[in-house]
Amino acid sequence: MSSPETTPRETSGTAGSAKSAQAASEHDGGAQPREGGNIGGTGEVPSFEVTLKIRRYDPERDSEPRWEEHRLTMYGTDRVLDALHKVKWEVDGSLTFRRSCAHGVCGSDAMRINGVNRLACKVLLKDLNLDKPITVEPIKGLPVEKDLLVDMEPFFASYREIMPFLITKGAEPTRERIQSQVDRERFDDTTKCILCAACTSSCPVFWTDGQYFGPAAIVNAHRFIFDSRDAGSDLRLEILNDKEGVWRCRTTFNCSEACPRGIQVTKAIAEVKQAIIARKF
């Protein structure tokens, strides 16, 4: 589990910008606008006022979660994550959230933005309705630990249960396990998963029934079930044939809509259902 950020604002906020300003004045050019240049304002990044409404919860002080609003000046190139950084680094250092790569690859910063699950690092502020406050909440269905940080353990427990690793049989080949392009293509979509939990925590079945495996676990099972090199499909299909397995899916498509990687999650679940039926009859 990644630890919450604790960067004090002095290091990267004030001091950082002062340093860069100094560096810019020392070396001519750089990112600093030239004097008298850019008269017409061409190429200037537009700035705007944003109200960020964050769901805060400090277990040591709050008896229940509360909303906190921040008025920020942000730029056209900024994402929701930048706004959260601005709050954390310049306003309130106690704001807690996960983020690692900040570029939509690691899957750490899934959160509920304006009521839908998104990665904060992939949502540009300018694409949202700025007339209203932008609400940022922790993802639903997992226990909130602090502010936007949830306990991901139930999510990963489901993930581990479907055995997300290659299971082979027979002698190991001397070189690599060869697979045709067509066979590889079969499960390509589900290899894209970054385990951000946006799908599972958008699933209404998961909200009410925490025992449900959830879309992410099924997607990752799909990745191996349809892999021609894998020999553990029967095991995985049997696990997902559980009362809390794929049959719990109500095809509401929330998961497909939430996936930041564009995985056709509901389709993958349907394919697993079909595979179980095909195996039984």
């Binding site: 277990p59 025992q211 009362k243």
Partner: protein, 157 residues
């Protein structure tokens, strides 16, 4: 035994919104019917499209339409084993399809175990009553039971 270690201020936990119970999968020892339930919903759904729309067409559109439906019309239909089978099939499939649908709704929405159990018991009781009474009517329907009706075969018998 020493008390389990707690984080500072650990007593806050109950105040937290508890969206779900802790992760603990109970491996069901009972046979799992979910696969069959899921398949039944799709199969019965397809059959019901034919059965229900066939029923509606025969009763309400064909011939004199809605005005033809009376005691005699029903008596005429149920004198044929074909329509008896049709109606029996429609009754059972529709009732079980509906029951299974409501069962999943109860499973999805009832949060307490006791609530879920009793709602399902009520559902199953209603299902059994409808199936028993409906089946009974289809097989024991007596066209001569209505004294205002005078079919030829009633007096003959």
């Amino acid at each position: 035994m020493s008390a389990p270690e707690q984080t500072p201020g650990g007593s806050y936990a109950p105040a937290l919104e508890t969206p779900r119970s802790p992760y603990k999968r109970s491996r069901s020892t009972r046979p799992n019917w979910e696969l069959h339930g899921w398949l039944f919903m799709r199969m019965s759904g397809l059959a019901l499209i034919v059965l229900v729309f066939g029923h509606l067409f025969i009763n309400l559109v064909q011939g004199e339409g809605i005005h033809q439906v009376d005691w005699g019309f029903v008596a005429g239909k149920w004198s044929s084993p074909f329509w008896q089978t049709w109606d029996l099939l429609m009754l059972w499939l529709a009732q079980l399809h509906g029951t299974n649908g409501v069962r999943t709704v109860i499973n999805d929405y009832a949060e307490r175990d006791a609530t879920r159990f009793w709602l399902k018991m009520a559902l199953y009781l209603a299902t059994v009553i409808v199936l028993v009474v409906g089946t009974l009517v289809i097989f024991t329907f007596d066209p001569c039971a209505d004294p205002t009706r005078n079919f030829d075969f009633c007096s003959a018998a």
